[in-house]
């Protein structure tokens, strides 16, 4: 029986259609042997002393946008969540929830992107699941991935509550590219833009950073809510203040321009390939140099410092040399009109 052009409820019913979907579309795109299968569960052994475990679900509109797609996001996002604990990514699961009527070709393209991303990051898909739901129950495709990674022995505790007064905050590059790229693609904004999502796996950048700054206290990737949310989380969890220097925060010129036009603040825009690190002052210069040497970190900068003043809040020194609070983002980002 040919596989057809679109996903039907039968593809999720567990019978022959499901089997064909997995063997003809999913396994080959993941680089697997179509005669093999993804087991319902996998037995793990000898992965290491300390493991990191994470899960995340992915939905984005449009599914393909300049610089990335939902497939890349689903792998990189989970790789990055593992990397933010300092872990080296090892294994990943792949859960798909498909809307009835989804084009098979589109699904194939997405799974191929997932396959490429797992090859690139050397993470292995070891278990998976596919469900099909009726039209309107999901927006085309939702992807869930869970990941397991191993922590190198020399790494201490890296967590949002570890920042201390005197520490230094760094960002690994320009902020806001992903948020603007997706918004421009989703809303079909009628101006052309060259802005691409920064969507990238950060585990090698983290490994580079941790070799240079082994006492790194916090690592976060500022995705939804942007740097403003991430820095506020660190300030609250560690009961410290964070003081940023607006002049030091890297933002691409085109992103700055479009953000101005739409009334959005780059600090609040999502990123998919940046990290924010808090490191002890004595390791800051080494951390910055290491980040800048990596191809994903060449625009890195020191953006602020951790203080004992104003605990649990983030303050920014503006380009006008005044100070104001950087709030937790509120509500959904809606562009202004004029």
């Amino acid at each position: 029986m040919p596989i057809g052009k679109t996903i039907t409820l039968a593809h999720g019913a567990g019978g022959r259609a499901s089997d064909e979907l997995i063997r003809e579309i999913i396994l080959p795109a993941l680089g697997g042997d179509p005669r093999s299968c993804l087991p319902d569960s996998v037995v793990l052994s000898n992965l290491g002393e300390r493991l990191a475990f994470t899960t995340d679900s992915y939905t984005v509109s449009p599914l393909f946008f300049p610089g990335g797609n939902i497939g890349k996001l689903a792998v990189y996002g989970t790789v990055n969540d593992l990397a933010m604990s300092g872990a080296e990514p090892l294994l990943i699961s792949l859960g798909l929830i498909l809307e009835e009527g989804l084009e098979i070709d589109l699904l194939r393209r997405i799974i191929e992107e997932i396959g490429e991303a797992t090859k690139e990051t050397k993470i292995r898909v070891v278990t998976g699941d596919t469900k099909v739901v009726g039209r309107g129950a999901v927006d085309k495709i939702f992807v869930n991935t869970s990941g397991i990674g191993a922590l190198p022995a020399f790494i201490g505790r890296i967590a949002p509550n570890q920042a201390r007064p005197g520490d230094v905050a760094l960002v690994s590059g320009a902020l806001g590219d992903h948020g603007i790229a997706v918004m421009a693609a989703r809303e079909k904004l009628s101006f052309t833009s060259n802005i691409k999502s920064d969507c990238a796996p950060l585990h090698t950048l983290v490994a580079t950073l941790l070799r240079a700054a082994p006492h790194t206290r916090c690592l976060r990737d500022p995705t939804r809510g942007g740097a403003a949310a991430t820095l506020n989380e660190i300030a609250r969890a560690s009961r410290v203040g964070i003081e940023l220097d607006e002049n030091a925060i890297p933002v691409h010129r085109e992103v700055m321009g479009l953000a101005e036009l739409l009334g959005l603040d780059p600090l609040f825009l999502a990123n998919e390939g940046k990290l924010i690190a808090v490191v002890p002052e004595e390791e800051a210069e080494a951390a910055l140099a290491a980040l800048r040497e990596h191809h994903l970190g060449f625009e890195s900068n020191i953006i602020g410092k951790v203080t004992s003043d104003h605990p649990a809040s983030v303050v920014i020194k503006t380009t006008m040399r005044t100070h104001r609070v950087v709030e937790y983002p509120a509500g959904e980002l809606l562009p202004r009109i004029c």
């Binding site: 009628s190 005044t322 009109i337 004029c338």
Partner: protein, 361 residues
């Protein structure tokens, strides 16, 4: 010229602040436009000024001055069968007695966010079985694009496109404010983008009849500091006039083509401004020649009655410059950007939202 970063230079700002300090005198300056309010709060401009100089916020946030019941008319239309309501994003979160356009978009209403009325025109052409209603809001900055959409609907004979107009025009509202003794406005920072359309001469009456300095101003922190300096210079010379600080965007004659399009499709009518009440000559209704595209003529919306202000909300006084956001007992307590009570907490250009989001350290 990069047009952004060089207008945010701290060193140049310090130079302007020193000149402002030398010229300082007690004065209340109203920035009319919500865009200016946003920049003043975001860059902490107040902290740079001598205490004698007070900046007071004006009514120039389009989302803030629309009466609740006008938004309820849009909500009413969006719930009727066969109608798809198109609107700008920032009006979608304004709370009304019937919820928000945003909640309707997620629920039973038929609401679509657009960036331009021309998108609504394209939708009308693509969906001939639907009535596409564009909820037109804003001042002279957005009115020309609505005018263009109406002209296009007329030339393409798009019978299924309608406009629900709540456009306002600014200058007559400034006359009301300057005459209002409770506002005590000594000078105006005039809106930059509105003036690209109407030209600086539209404010001459403020200088000629009411002796108030007026400076048409751009939207970066250095623009605002320079405008304040120019106002103080005018005050020191005792020669109030209209000056154009925003020369990189505003031309003396304004935008003729935009004004002609507005003249053709709109007619001036009285309008109710939230906080300011009824002001003659400040509303833009749709001219008789374009009546077939007027949503208010196509559907009877008279049952949507004016709404009382939410209890305790000071948005009305904030829009007149009589009160500051912090004077309101709801501010940052029950009224926050996550769950706004009044409209000034909704748009980033609203005074309350700007104060909340960019409070001083």
């Amino acid at each position: 010229m990069k047009f952004i970063s060089e207008f945010r230079e701290g060193a140049l700002g310090s130079g302007l602040v020193r000149r402002i300090e030398r010229l300082s005198r007690p004065i209340r300056i109203m920035e009319v436009c919500g865009g200016h309010t946003h920049v003043i709060c975001r860059y902490g401009i107040r902290d740079l000024l001598p205490p004698d100089i007070q900046l007071i916020h004006g009514p120039g946030c389009p989302v803030c001055v629309i009466p609740q019941h006008e938004i309820e008319k849009a909500i009413e239309l969006s719930t009727r069968p066969g109608i798809l309501l198109c609107c700008f994003g920032d009006v979608m979160r304004v709370p009304t007695r019937r919820g928000t356009l945003f909640s309707l978009a997620r629920g039973r209403g038929s609401v679509k966010m657009v960036y331009s009325p021309l998108e609504a025109i394209e939708m009308a052409a693509a969906l001939p079985d639907k009535e596409i209603v564009f909820f037109a809001i804003g001042f002279e900055t957005t009115a020309p694009s609505t005018a263009l959409a109406l002209k296009r609907a007329s030339s393409q004979g798009l019978a299924n496109f309608k406009v629900l107009s709540t456009h306002f025009i600014i200058p007559p509202a400034l006359r009301v404010l300057v005459k209002d003794s409770s506002s005590r406005i000594g000078a105006f920072i005039a809106p930059g983008h509105v003036t690209t359309i109407i030209g600086p001469d539209a404010y001459c009456f403020l200088a000629d009849e009411y002796n108030r300095p007026v400076v048409v101003t751009g939207f970066e922190p250095l623009d605002l500091l320079q405008a304040i300096m120019l106002i103080l210079q005018q005050a020191a010379e005792g020669k109030p006039r209209v000056e154009n600080q925003y020369t990189r965007a505003v031309r003396v004659q304004g935008n003729r083509r935009a004004l002609e399009a507005m003249d053709e499709v709109f007619e001036i009518r009285p309008a109710i401004w939230r906080g300011l009440g009824l002001i003659p000559g400040t509303g833009l209704g749709i001219a008789p020649a374009f009546a077939p595209w007027d949503a208010e003529k196509a559907w009877d919306l008279s049952q949507v009655e004016p709404a009382p202000e939410p209890p305790g909300c000071l948005c009305g006084d904030v829009l007149k410059g009589v009160s500051q956001p912090k004077d309101c007992s709801l501010f940052a307590v029950s009224c926050t950007p996550d769950s706004p009570v009044g409209p000034c907490m909704v748009s980033p250009e609203g005074a309350c939202a700007a104060h909340y989001r960019y409070r001083g350290a």
